[in-house]
């Protein structure tokens, strides 16, 4: 081939230009939905992001979207799903500088509050007041979506964290489920002596271990203490003796060898396997466990029973005048809610879609797929729930308060600090007092 500098230059230039089209910053922009330059007949587009990308909830959401589209033929909903952790990252990046979708998935709590206070999501309070929409929701999950008395998201899914135990294994060894922390400690020692792992725990991602700290803290100092510390009310702090005591109790469990060996290096999957294979007797995990158990070991859920986390002995000596934790309180929260981005140009259509996503049919379907809806549904629908889930729901209903997961109630940075310091209490690299002081220090800086 003959060599021609000119042709090669042209070729290179065209390659460069071609590549430049894919470069970040030169982002291809879809025509603004409903704007004037859209050709006639062009549909309004709504982008919806969520993370329910597995069988069950994915289909229920897709179905609700389809019904909405049938009722609104001029609207096209573009659904995109993400993996849990990837979504958190994506959301924070898009919120900081990029483009949020019209409708976004949220867990409520601190993450939603941050978006709401930065003016990134729409206030839905007034929309909820119309046509009895608000009455469709249970009060507790709606509270999780409320920031400064305004509602910014509509909840669909409710979950809680009971202490699951293998009833058959307990019966075989003539053991009784523990009612108090002292009984739990004793039980753990007995199970270890029988060569059974007492509590399955895979703490690599840090949140599974945090459940223990949250429970011990709420049983010791009460949920109010946590809410007040997070709201920076005078007299409440994250280094309150109750939080330190919770850490000490956690250490007692670690020292009693109560958890899976090497728990900090194991992910949730292998820990769940230990429980389902009956190598471990108990498992502190959210209600979503039931669906996974049904999938991986269909016979197992018939052996699964649950109790509320054991009560902690009176704690008045350290907090005179302070309330001690109520033993019915359940750790839980909203695991699926939807908010509307402020950048959404068709907020009325978006609100209409939210109504479809939270209608009666979704509530019933949600029960059918084995998850607890944040919506009011009839008793017949609740009877569709798997037996273990139904038992967990009874605990949830008997609870005086729902204690939110710290990492969903607190703003992201404090949430990370909570997970990191709790994990270090588990690892023994921080004392409970040091961990509490670190939390309080960052709380002072960020709240």
């Amino acid at each position: 081939m003959r060599y021609s500098p000119r042709r090669s230059l042209l070729l290179s230039a065209s390659i460069v230009l071609g590549l430049a089209l894919f470069a970040p910053g030169c982002r291809r922009r879809a025509p603004a939905p409903g704007s004037n330059d859209a050709p006639p007949g062009e549909k309004i587009r709504l982008r919806l992001w969520h993370i329910m990308n597995y069988e069950g909830p994915r289909e229920v959401i897709a179905d609700a979207v389809k019904r909405f589209e049938a009722a609104n033929p001029n609207v096209l909903v573009e659904v995109e799903t993400f993996e849990n952790d990837a979504y958190k990252q994506k959301l924070s990046i898009e919120a900081a500088g990029g483009e949020l979708p019209d409708i976004l998935f949220t867990w409520g709590g601190g993450g939603l509050a941050e978006l709401a206070r930065a003016g990134k999501v729409l206030d839905l309070t007034d929309a909820l007041a119309a046509e009895g929409w608000r009455e469709r929701f249970l009060e507790a999950p709606l509270d999780f979506c409320t920031v400064d008395d305004r509602v910014y998201a509509v909840p669909v899914d409710l979950a809680c964290v009971p202490l699951w135990y293998n009833a058959e294994l307990f019966a075989r060894h003539e053991l009784a489920p523990p009612r108090t922390f002292a009984e739990l400690l004793q039980l753990c020692r007995e199970l270890r002596a029988k060569n059974i792992t007492p509590l399955a725990l895979g703490n690599m991602k840090q949140w599974p271990g945090a459940f223990y700290f949250i429970y011990l803290a709420t049983r010791t100092g009460g949920s109010e203490l946590f809410f007040d510390a997070a709201a920076r009310k005078p007299g409440a702090a994250f280094n309150d003796p109750a939080f330190v005591e919770a850490g000490e109790k956690l250490r007692q469990l670690v020292d009693a060898n109560a958890f899976s060996t090497g728990f900090n290096g194991i992910d949730v999957g292998p820990a769940r396997t230990q429980f389902l294979n009956e190598q471990a007797a108990m498992y502190l995990m959210g209600t979503w466990l039931v669906a996974r158990a049904l999938e991986e070991s269909p016979e197992f859920p018939s052996k699964m029973k649950c109790i509320a986390f054991p009560a902690v002995e009176p704690f008045d000596r350290l907090r005179p005048g302070g309330g001690k934790g109520d033993a019915t309180t359940v750790v839980g929260g909203v695991n699926c809610a939807f908010a509307v981005s402020r950048s959404c140009e068709n907020s009325e259509k978006a609100a209409a879609l939210l109504r479809f996503l939270t209608d009666e049919q979704v509530g019933e379907e949600w029960c059918r797929i084995g998850r607890i809806p944040a919506l009011r549904v009839g008793d017949e629908a609740l009877d569709e729930l798997p037996v273990p889930t139904r038992a967990a729901l009874d605990l949830l209903r008997a609870a005086k308060t729902i204690q939110p997961y710290y990492d969903q109630h607190l703003p992201p940075r404090l949430a990370e600090e909570h997970k990191k310091t709790t994990q270090e209490i588990f690892a023994g690299t921080l004392t409970p007092a040091e961990a509490a002081d670190r939390m309080e220090k960052l709380a002072k800086e960020t709240l």
Binding site: L9, K88, G111, L115, T261, N264, G265, Q423
Partner: protein
């Protein structure tokens, strides 16, 4: 070729050659030089939260970084990785290469087996090895139990003192085949006559290795060492995936720390993370300069 044609060639093809450089240059500028400059700029700002507007804060991020124990531990781990790569990984690779240079049976098979981890996806390796290190049921614990029946299982990937070393073993397993292939190529270039002459003179195998193989392999060793140094300074993936459960001061490399500050859990500490990234850049630059300088000196 005459001297005239070699001198005039660049002049004649000058513009054409520039055309060939241009695509790479543009991409390099767009994805490397520009982001580095951008990181410098961002490191001067502070994000009160991920969604708030950044606030200018001068060099305060760098001041905070100097007092950040996690950052120093991350830097320490990079150095550890570098030292172990040079002191453990390269000698093993060299040993394997020398071993495979002898006409042993199943030589091709061994070569493929040692090289295989290089072509496996990193995520698969991370999952595979986390089962090796799984406490109680994992391969490692089962092997230990063959010798010590009472062994109750180690913390391995979750342990403050063991996490990094466990991941290093995996990294070593992964890259040793790559360096082995480099060394094998180097060994192939050493003339067989030299060994024959040495044997005639009555040199031992070890003597021949010291007097012939090592000196003649020096350029290859230098390439291997340079790649190891660069690789261990920018290393990310296996450590990020496998050591996540260890306490903060035992699990970070500089690159994983930068990433976690910016993105993990939606913290959005973009400014502080950029400051850490700038430090990473400066350390890498210094190491790169040192390697280049040493390479020049030995070449002369």
């Amino acid at each position: 070729m005459t001297s005239v044609s070699t001198r005039s060639a660049p002049a004649r093809f000058g513009r054409g050659l520039f055309g060939f450089l241009l695509p790479a240059l543009v991409i390099y500028a767009l994805f490397v030089i520009l982001p580095i400059g951008e990181a410098f700029r961002l490191s001067l700002f502070r994000w009160p939260s991920a969604v708030s507007e950044p606030v200018f804060c001068g060099l305060r991020n760098f001041a905070a970084l100097m007092g950040d124990a996690v950052f120093w531990s991350a830097l320490g781990h990079n150095v550890l990785l570098l030292v172990l790569s040079l002191a453990v990984q390269l000698p093993i690779a060299l040993m394997l290469a020398v071993f495979l240079s002898y006409p042993v049976r199943g030589r091709r098979l061994f070569r493929t087996v040692f090289f295989a981890p290089m072509v496996m996806p990193t995520v698969a390796i991370a999952v595979l090895w986390s089962y090796v290190y799984l406490p109680e049921q994992g391969l490692l614990d089962q092997v230990i139990r063959l010798f010590d029946r009472g062994f109750s299982g180690g913390a391995w990937l979750g342990g403050p003192n063991t996490a990094m070393l466990c991941v290093f073993a995996t990294i070593c397993w992964r890259y040793v085949g790559f360096h082995m292939v480099l060394f094998m190529a180097g060994l192939a270039g050493i003339p067989e006559e030299l060994y024959e002459a040495a044997r005639m003179d009555g040199a031992s195998e070890w003597g021949a290795f010291k007097a012939i193989t090592l000196p003649l392999l020096k350029p290859t060793i230098r390439v291997s060492a340079t790649l190891s140094i660069i690789g261990s300074l920018k290393y990310f993936d296996l450590v990020y995936m496998m050591a996540a459960g260890a306490p903060e001061k035992s699990r970070e490399l500089m690159a994983t720390y930068v990433y976690r500050l910016g993105f993990e859990g939606g913290q959005g500490r973009f400014g502080y993370g950029s400051a850490a990234a700038v430090m990473l850049f400066l350390v890498a630059l210094a190491a790169g300069a040192a390697v280049t300088f040493m390479g020049r000196r030995t070449n002369d």
